[in-house]
């Protein structure tokens, strides 16, 4: 039955995709999940899986009513093979997605049904020197990917052919594009000696990076209203985050967060902290209004199920088409539970993903 649903959904998506390209954001924002017409509003959830288990997967989601399609893994259903080991990133680009898989060391371009179009194998040949791929960002005709070989590599979006690379900090993590530059965080070396360099690369030249040293052991980075924020493990693994002045490199700590999401110039954070005496995890919520530079501690989720206060939050994602918030939780063993909140951040529903450690959602309309 699910296969049949998926088949029709795929057909519908393909047939209607041309028409939807002219839809404006305003139209999307008027979406009402209960009004039907759900099969064209698809999302893909990347489940990271666990290292050496080859259990990364992609869950298909009709985001209008939050029902699943595509079986245990959309990618597997479409391509007759598994995603592989450690699903690292899923990057949307128009009607396509770029799938980045760390352990299996490849980058694949997928269409919006999950079918693989082309792949760059970073495990062998010339590309093996780049190291395993981590995260990606699209700018212009290129996909830029941070790789564990201390570089950001540039690929053509069309066929994923390799162009060149720029050396950055140790074990680079996430990256963004802002005002003609790529900013890429770095974490540690193999001995867990923390790096504190944030790389800044001029996209036009793409030759070398300049560095700021805002904080140790970085991970996440986002741009909001032309301002850059970074988050990381820190020296003490207490997940500090704050703002980086992209001119001077000055870092201003704002709070502590193990993950975050942004919507309408507000950064929503959660810090999942485990008490090693009781083994209880507590989530500390906070928001940061970028425009007002105002940090407010306290829960922003309304009527949230009680368990959400004590379950590790692995990632959060806003649906750009209806401002719904998806809170992806994990117990690191079972498939992730994902809690959905509406645009007022009121609890809507919960569903179970089809894989372990859900970490990213890409939405299509």
């Amino acid at each position: 039955m699910k296969m049949k649903q998926f088949f029709f959904a795929a057909l519908a998506v393909l047939a209607l995709s041309a028409g939807f390209t002219s839809c404006s954001d305003d139209d999307d924002n008027n979406n009402n999940p209960s009004s039907g017409d759900t099969k064209d509003k698809v999302a893909f959830i990347l489940n990271e899986g666990a290292m050496s288990k080859n259990n990364a997967s992609i869950t298909g989601l009709y985001w209008a009513d939050n029902t699943l399609f595509g079986g245990e893994c959309v990618y597997k259903t479409q391509n007759q093979q598994a995603v592989g080991d450690v699903g690292q990133d899923l990057v949307k680009d128009g009607d396509n997605m770029f799938l980045i898989v760390w352990g299996s060391a490849y980058i694949a371009k997928l269409d919006k049904t999950g079918k693989e179009l082309v792949r760059a194998d970073l495990s062998q040949g010339e590309l093996a020197s780049l190291g395993s791929p981590r995260y990606g960002v699209v700018e212009g005709n290129y996909l830029y990917v941070s790789c564990y070989g201390n570089c950001v590599a540039k690929f053509k979006k069309s066929d994923l052919s390799y162009v060149s690379k720029v050396t950055v900090g140790n074990r680079p993590e996430r990256l963004i594009e802002e005002d003609g530059y790529i900013y890429c965080t770095s974490s540690t070396d193999e001995s867990y000696q923390a790096d504190n360099r944030l790389a800044k690369i001029d996209i036009k030249e793409f030759k070398e990076a300049t560095f700021f040293t805002p904080m140790s052991n970085q991970d996440r980075i986002m741009e909001v209203d032309d301002r850059v924020f970074i988050q990381g493990y820190g020296d003490a693994f207490d997940y500090p985050w704050g703002e980086v002045n992209t001119t001077t490199g000055e870092f201003t700590k704002i709070g502590n967060a193990s993950t975050w999401a942004e919507n309408d110039d507000v950064i929503y954070t959660v810090n999942s902290v485990t008490d090693w005496d009781t083994y209880a995890t507590t989530n500390y919520f906070a928001t940061y209004d970028v425009e007002k530079s105002k940090y407010t501690e306290g829960a922003y989720l309304k009527n949230a199920p009680a368990e959400l206060a004590s379950t590790s939050v692995f990632a959060m994602e806003f649906n750009p088409y209806n401002d719904y918030l998806y809170v992806m939780t994990t117990d690191f063993t079972n498939n992730s539970k994902i809690y959905v909140f509406n645009e007022k951040l009121e609890y809507v529903s919960m569903f179970e993903s089809t894989g372990v450690n859900s970490k990213k959602i890409v939405f299509f309309n």
Binding site: N55, G84, A128, D235, T274, T281, F314
Partner: protein, 673 residues
């Protein structure tokens, strides 16, 4: 370091020599104790020990090892009911053993009476032990029956004991020589040489040396969705050298001094787990293990026995991985472990059916490595001093056999960097009873209860980022209720024995890597309950006057469940724990070609605590056929053993994404002078 090793060895040798001199001067009674020791070993046959013991004890002897064509210790252990071998595949792949799923850290491995330690990982890779010079292998739930054991032997929930061959000179010659060549699939080549020499009337020297190499590049079928491809394991090569020197001296009063030097060195590739789309495998591992041990045993009058042991162990390993994922292009971990160990066991036998023993062990374990606990700390370089004391008693009134005791452990630790854990101390009792049912010769009932614990390993305490110095010991309780029977039901049966044991194990404060957001930490979080039954059967029948058949069978049912309420895997079957497992072996012994056929099976199990189809591992059956024949010539003997393993070429995994080899062949030629 070399100086310390030298000083220790020198002390050990001086110790041996002074004992020797003292004992020689005290010797008054001539006796051929070598022969007497040999007699004791012969009586401890596989069937008798498992049936008459108050605890489940299974033994495989050299004869049976040869009949079934087994060359690795792990292959023997897989044929014991209740054992769980985690086999990562291939000749160089790691193999650990767990008795009744209590965990490898709860299972001690003993080599000629002294346990092998690995305080860093807490588990012994039994894949490193060949069977070339092994006389017998015993797996005991609880502990073995012998009175004069070390305290450590009582401290574990189960013990795997390896006994090497002791020299015998049946034909009056002063020496014996054995040369063996083993060759087989995947580039396996292993010559070995053994030399036994009498040194006077009471001293025997035994030298053993083995070299082994293999490419290990075995084929396997990779299944990824609907794709099936033929692949090969890469980077599975191994080169290993093993040398062993044993000096056995028997004093005229019957006391004995055994001294052993053991050295093992290997370099191997680690193929790692199969990763879809990525065949990269560059990891290398070098291991060096050296130990020197000496054991002295003496009967003092009619009522007292003394055993004293000393052991020094040095282990070194170096792990390297290469590739662009490392900033320097290379990852290198070096670990050095030393152990200084001493034991004295005093036995008192005030009556024929009552004995008491007090065993005292003291050990100092050190670890030096380049692994930092946290990025801003230096290596912890811990030193652990442990005292284990065991007071045991054995009472055998009519029809009854009672074993009981108390084990006290105290451990103190200090570190060079980071937080120092608190001292650990604990008392662990055990009691077992076997009762011969009146009117039913050969029928016995047995029961056992034992409490044990395992110390957190150095990795648990100090491993980079996830180590936790606040860990408590992991506790285990095991209960066993069994029935055994042995007899000769039909005239053509030489014996038939059957054992059935119900068991209940309870592990609390289980040490697990507790998941948290991004940074995991070792914690006393888990709780597991393991219920099951082990059934064994062994029998020998006389088919004709010149042909006999030996049949052995083992079956285990285990329900091993996570019982930690807050756990994500609460009430789920523990990973890699099959509900059903078993083995069967049949050998036909005849004057022409002996035939051995054995099957090892494991039922379905899961690779994750998420017990879903995604993580289900299929059941497997592995068949092994062995043909062997001995040729006796004047003054020398030739043994030829040929085996085909995994006869059906089954594609299976014991650990997910570590494929096991398919069909392989092996030929062993052995010349004994």
């Amino acid at each position: 370091m070399r100086l310390r090793i030298f000083v220790f060895l020198w002390t050990l040798l001086c110790c041996s020599a002074s004992w020797n001199a003292w004992a020689q001067s005290a010797d008054k009674t001539p006796a051929d104790s070598l022969r007497r020791i040999r007699q004791v070993e012969v009586t401890a046959s596989r069937v008798v020990s498992n049936v008459s013991s108050s605890k489940p004890i299974q033994t495989m002897t050299r004869e049976e090892i040869d009949r079934l064509g087994l060359n690795e210790l792990s292959e023997v252990v897989k044929r014991f009911a209740g054992s769980n071998v985690r086999d990562y595949g291939g000749i160089g792949g790691m193999k650990t053993v767990s008795v009744r799923n209590l965990g490898a850290q709860h299972t001690a491995v003993s080599y000629d009476g002294l346990t092998i330690s690995n305080t860093q990982a807490g588990q012994i890779d039994i894949g490193r032990f060949s069977l070339d010079n092994v006389e017998s292998v015993t797996m005991a739930v609880g502990n073995e029956e012998s009175l004069m054991q070390t305290a450590r032997h009582y401290a574990s929930a189960g013990i795997l004991s390896v006994r090497t061959e002791r020299p015998t000179f049946g034909d009056g010659r002063g020496y014996r020589l054995k040369a063996q060549l083993r060759a087989g699939s995947f580039g396996l080549l292993s010559p070995s040489l053994r030399y036994w020499q009498k040194l006077g009337g009471r001293t025997v020297l035994a030298l053993d040396g083995t070299y082994m190499r293999a490419d290990g590049a075995y084929p396997y079928e990779l299944v990824n969705g609907k794709n099936r491809t033929d692949e090969k394991r890469h980077n599975s090569d191994i080169n290993s050298w093993k040398g062993e020197a044993n000096l056995f001296h028997t004093f005229s009063d019957g006391s004995a001094l055994d001294t052993k030097l053991y050295w093992f060195y290997s370099e191997r590739g680690l193929p790692g787990s199969v990763v879809y789309y990525n065949r990269t495998a560059r990891e290398r591992l070098w291991d060096e293990d050296f130990f020197a041990q000496t054991s002295y045993s003496r009967q003092m009058g009619r009522e007292w026995k003394l055993a004293a042991r000393l052991k020094f162990t040095h282990s070194w390993n170096q792990y390297e991985d290469y590739g662009p994922n490392y900033v320097s292009g290379k990852m290198r971990d070096v670990n050095r472990q030393d152990e200084y160990y001493g034991n004295v066991t005093l036995g008192w036998l005030p009556a024929d059916n009552f004995s008491v023993a007090l065993a005292q062990d003291v050990s100092v374990n050190t670890l030096r490595n380049n692994v930092h606990v946290a990025s801003n700390d230096g290596p912890s370089n811990p030193v652990r001093t442990t005292s284990v004391t065991a007071l045991t008693a054995h009472w055998t009134p009519t029809r009854l056999s009672l074993d009981g005791g108390l084990v006290g452990t105290y451990a103190h630790e200090r570190v060079a960097h980071g937080r120092q854990p608190g001292d650990k101390h604990r008392l662990s009792p055990f009691l077992s009873v076997s009762w011969q049912v009146p009117g039913a010769d050969g029928l016995r009932l047995r029961a056992m209860a034992k409490g044990t614990f395992r110390m957190p390993t150095f990795n648990d305490l100090y491993y980079r980022r996830i180590g936790n110095t606040g860990l408590r010991p992991e506790k285990a309780k095991e209960y066993n209720l069994g029935i055994t029977w042995t007899g000769r039901p039909l005239s053509w049966t030489r014996y038939l024995s059957v054992t059935a044991d119900l068991f209940h194990n309870n592990v609390t404060d289980k040490i697990v890597a507790f998941p948290s957001t991004y940074v995991w930490k070792m914690s006393n979080f888990g709780k597991a309950v393991i219920n099951g039954i082990d059934i064994t059967m062994a029998g020998e029948a006389e088919v004709t006057k010149r042909v006999s058949a030996v049949l052995t069978l083992g079956y285990s049912y285990q329900k091993a469940v996570d019982r930690q309420r807050q756990s994500a895997s609460y009430r789920k079957q523990l990973p890699y724990t099959p509900r059903h497992s078993g083995n069967i072996s049949l050998s036909l012994n005849n004057p022409w070609v002996n035939v051995g056929y054995s099957i090892v099976m494991q039922g379905e199990r899961w690779s994750s605590a998420q017990n879903t189809d995604t993580y289900k591992i299929d059941a497997y059956w592995e068949h092994t056929l062995t043909l062997s024949r001995s040729f006796q010539f004047s003054g020398w003997r030739l043994d030829l053993i040929g085996s085909v393993r995994n006869l059906t070429d089954a594609q299976y995994e014991i650990i997910k994404f570590y494929p096991m080899p398919g069909r392989s062949a092996e030929l062993t030629a052995r010349v004994t002078l």
